[in-house]
């Protein structure tokens, strides 16, 4: 049952590094939201980019997706496909408003 401790302490250091990166990322997200980048869309893009990096760290390291079996990748590939499709349809619907609709 027990795993080699020296081998695992390497993993533990990695987890702690990810933890500190997530804390730092949160503070960066809050700080960046107070900086006017010139256009609201740019602020949104920056916040979502930082959130995506943080999500990658959680999924990749805490959820071990970096070293998972093909079966899991297969399940997630279909999820990514449908999630992108869902967001794609959402964005598509935004260019299909009736005339005189205010969009911003």
């Amino acid at each position: 049952m027990s795993t080699d401790h020296s081998d695992f302490s390497q993993h533990l250091r990695g987890y702690l590094f990810v933890f500190y990166a997530l804390l730092f990322g949160t503070l960066i997200t809050v700080g960046a939201s107070y900086i006017p980048f010139g256009h609201k869309a740019l602020n949104i893009a920056v916040a979502l980019l930082i959130a995506s990096v943080k999500a990658f760290l959680v999924a990749g390291y805490f959820m071990h997706l970096m070293s998972e079996r093909k079966m899991i990748y297969g399940i997630l590939a279909s999820t990514v496909f449908f999630a992108i499709g869902l967001m794609g349809l959402t964005l598509w619907s935004m260019v299909d408003f009736p005339p005189l609709t205010t969009t911003h």
Binding site: F19, T26, F62
Partner: protein, 260 residues
Amino acid sequence: MDIPYTVQPRPDTGLYNAKVGIWLFLASEVMLFGALFSSYILLRVGAPEGYWPHGWLNVPIGTANTLVLITSSITTVMAWASCKMNRFEKFKFYHACTLVLALTFVCIKSYEYRDKLTHYEITLADGKIADGHMVRNDPKADHVVISGRYVEDRKELYDLHAAKVHHPHEELTLPRAQIKKMSSYGPWHNTYTAIYFTLTGLHALHVIGGALVIGFLWGPGSKMWRTDPERFTNRVEVSGLFWHFVDLVWIFLFPVLYLL
């Protein structure tokens, strides 16, 4: 009858069954939250100019809750790693920390909800709007008292980031006969509060559900450690995957609802 492949990997998938199960479940969860995020985008884009709220939520409180959830993620990983390293006492310690952090998250969220549910926008007969937190609302009294301010135009209430001037709040006594409409900032207030309560409420239910499972593994469920430690470790891993997903959803909810 024994449940197959609770410890040994299935030859065709290379994984124990619970792991495949939790990932299939998480895949469906991505679509559930994805649909709600999609609703958020459509509501925000469809809102009339100047009528999508900014600065309605307390950023320091939201940041604190984000840090609490991130910390609970590392304690969850450490709990699983402790099982892997055959250190049961450390597992108990880390999962106790996870439970305390989960409770802290729910308490902070409840405080935020209470703040919104006691915050009122009151339209008066003369067209003025009083906005603030309820102080007294005795149904028998002929007036209500709030701690807030008057605004001439509803639009002033929407972009609190843009309103650089701090508006002093004072106790306002409003005759009941003058009140045309009174609405708290609950889910019924507008589309922003509706999607805010839906997204964060669903997320909070996930936190509570995850905490119940973790609490079971920490308490009565931990007996399995003595009889079948590998199976128990797998249970900890599966519950941890769910917990990380809950953290992952919040990573997007926080900037979307609090900062943008």
